[in-house]
């Protein structure tokens, strides 16, 4: 099995599988749409960080009890909307609404006294309500320009149809990440947005390498268009590279998660690592399971 996979001589008929993959893809679409409907109708909320909603956070390391936490939640200075504790570390994070600077400082003093932690050792973050909107709108603008350029590039180098498939694979990866975030209730921070942008990169990179391979095989069979044999040969051969590449990309990221967990470090770097891992897995998956059914469709219309 390994040597077949290694040599790319697995004889999977991807063209035939196209229909089955399409069904899986459609099921995914239904899931994505229902997740979006759920979040729009308010049944499930995305867990947005203060960067997007506005507000303040206070994070400190201390020995706390459940009573301490409820004391803080019932304080009269600021409304503390949520708290978060971390495994393997005695960090605790409180999220409060946005208020005047005096109030925020007052709560800082309160926490400092209550947990006997120096004010300088409390991580404090405050975000105005407009900041998240700004990041989001600037990010979206960058995204639209980027995607337009990519469509043009792929159309020139390959075909317009290929550009569309690359976009479908890309949005598939984004929606899959969105769904995982919504289901697991992971917090969405600016780091998540950066990670999502990286996922875009991975997804496109993977798809482009695949298209390149398709073009090579086309040349090999002396065809000027996609055929069943070109498709099958390409995907049988490309399997091993896909697996190897996702493994080598995933290793550093998995090590962030493991070492971070082992050292009891929470927060920012894991914020990158989780979505990146989801993205790499999804990117590898989509470069085969999402592109194949659409490429089969192209062959059919040819």
């Amino acid at each position: 099995m390994f040597s077949k996979l290694f040599l790319g001589t697995t004889e999977v008929n991807f063209y035939k599988l196209g229909n089955r993959f399409m069904k899986i893809f459609l099921i995914e679409i239904v899931i994505f749409i229902s997740m979006i409907v759920l979040s729009i109708s308010g049944y499930r909320d995305l867990n947005l960080s203060v960067d997007f909603t506005g507000g303040t956070t206070y994070q400190l390391s201390t020995n706390y009890t459940q009573d301490d936490i409820s004391d803080v939640l019932n304080n009269t200075i600021l409304k503390v909307s949520r708290y978060q504790t971390f495994e393997n570390s005695n960090s605790i994070l409180f999220r409060a609404v946005e208020s005047t600077q005096e109030r925020e400082t007052e709560l800082l003093n309160y926490l400092s006294n209550k947990f006997d932690v120096s004010k300088d050792d409390i991580e404090f973050q405050r975000v105005g309500p407009t900041f998240g909107a700004e990041i989001t709108s600037k990010g979206l603008r960058a995204l639209i320009i980027f995607l337009s350029i990519i469509v043009i590039l792929i159309s020139i180098r390959y075909e317009f149809k290929f550009a569309v498939i690359a976009l479908i694979a890309l949005f598939h990866d984004l929606f899959l990440s969105y769904t995982v975030y919504e289901l697991l209730g992971l917090e969405i921070t600016p780091s998540t947005i950066i990670a999502l942008l990286t996922i875009l990169g991975y997804s496109l990179y993977d798809t482009v390498i695949l298209f390149d391979k398709l073009k090579d095989s086309q040349k090999l069979f002396k065809r000027n268009q996609l055929t069943t044999e070109v498709l099958n040969k390409t995907f049988n051969e490309v399997l091993m590279r896909s697996i190897n590449t996702s493994l080598t990309s995933a290793f550093p990221i998995i090590s962030i998660l493991f070492i971070g967990n082992y050292l009891g470090i929470d927060g920012s770097l894991s914020d990158f690592a989780i979505p990146l891992l989801i993205g790499i897995l999804s990117g590898t998956y989509s470069s085969i399971f999402v592109t194949v059914p659409f490429l089969s469709k192209i062959i059919k219309t040819n």
């Binding site: 290694f6 040599l7 700004e134 590039l153 090579d216 550093p252 920012s268 770097l269």
Partner: protein, 481 residues
Amino acid sequence: MKNILKFLLLPALSISLFIYVYFNDVTPKLGLDLQGGISLILTAEEGTDSELIEQAVNIMRSRIAAFGDVQEPEISISGENSVLVQLPGITDQEKAIEAVGTTGLLTFRPVLDSSLSVGYSPALEIIENPDDPENPTINAPEGVDDLTGLTINDNPNKVSYLLSLSGGYPVIYELGPAVLTGNDISDALAVYPQNEWIVQLVFKDDSADKFTELTKQLASLTGEQRKLAIVLDSQVISAPGIALDVNPNVGIIGGTAAISMGNADQGQSANNLAVVLRYGALPVSFERSSIQKVSASLGENTLKLGLEAGLVGLIIVSLFLILYYRLNGLIAIIGLSSFGMLFYSTISLLGKYQGFTLTLAGIAGVIVSIGLAADSYIVTFEKFKDELKIGRSFQYASEKAVSEAWKTILTADFVSLTASVILYILAIGPIRGFALTLGIATVFDLIFTRFFTKNAVPLLTKLSNNSRSFFPIKKEALINV
């Protein structure tokens, strides 16, 4: 021989650069999230003139410099209307945020005396020494510097001796306690009605009476004492006198006042004064859209985690490559470690000479680029395998593989590069750091593919023609497909 030199060129270059950086103690400049400190983003209203924002940034810089406690503060314009303020390792955060974010303390204080009458600060009492005329005895009241005659720590509620530089020459004023502040002003405008620039001042409704009271009092006096000083952050920016036709029994009424500014400089000083009166020190008012405080220990931990994870990742990737691609894997490891050294050196040097700071997002970019760089090797080696499979000789296959792989990698890297350039130009804050490291890494990846892998892989096939040296599979299996 020539080929060996060619393929060793890049690793040698990377190693020597790394040694240079290492022995000159150049290390990457760490962002706040990695070394601790305060970072805040101040946002002005949409559509604010960029010149005004630049002015504000300059004022903030000088204020932070006056603040002292901060090492290497960084204040920069980010995006269209935001200012990013980064204060590493600061302890007194309240004060620091106050110093950059607020618009400054503007007060109106009656002039009691000035250096114009005696030639030196009215605070100083100079007693001639008949024996030694060069060194008179100087007496200064408490809290006043006995050399300059200026109050050291100005308190707006007490008598102070403050400097004015606005007239083109220094004047020291003795000022009474503040009567009005910037909060009492509702508007200020520079206008040019007739032959002369005027700053029109409008007080808020409930402050107008206070101003009338003050002017009544001042109008009954003469000379320097008839002046009202406008003080901003302990500096007198203007000290207009009350016009001679103001009746001491009535004062200036109606809640408005006009300060005549002459017309020497086409209204520039009038405009500046109006701006200061309107906004305080900063020409624009800012909203604190984000404040983030990171303690030094969290920063250190994150950095440690990033470095360790990067290293462990690199080791696992190396092991994997060598087990799977054997001799070629070795090439990949030499390439990847040179890549790492070159990358580290570049980031350190950029930090030193261009002020580039390595942030958490940047580290994420680095970790991602390890994966991308490793993939370039995998693409090449897989092409090599494909060529062998169709019966090419090792030598020919390796040469064909590197040139074919180059085309593929060029296309794929072009996508990454486009992404990083667009992100760098359009995005704000942390995303830019990410884009920059990713972009640098992609360029390095291209350089290594073109000048290192391309020379190294064909060289290896001269050493061995055994497929076991390159793949975990026998030659017969490889070729008899």
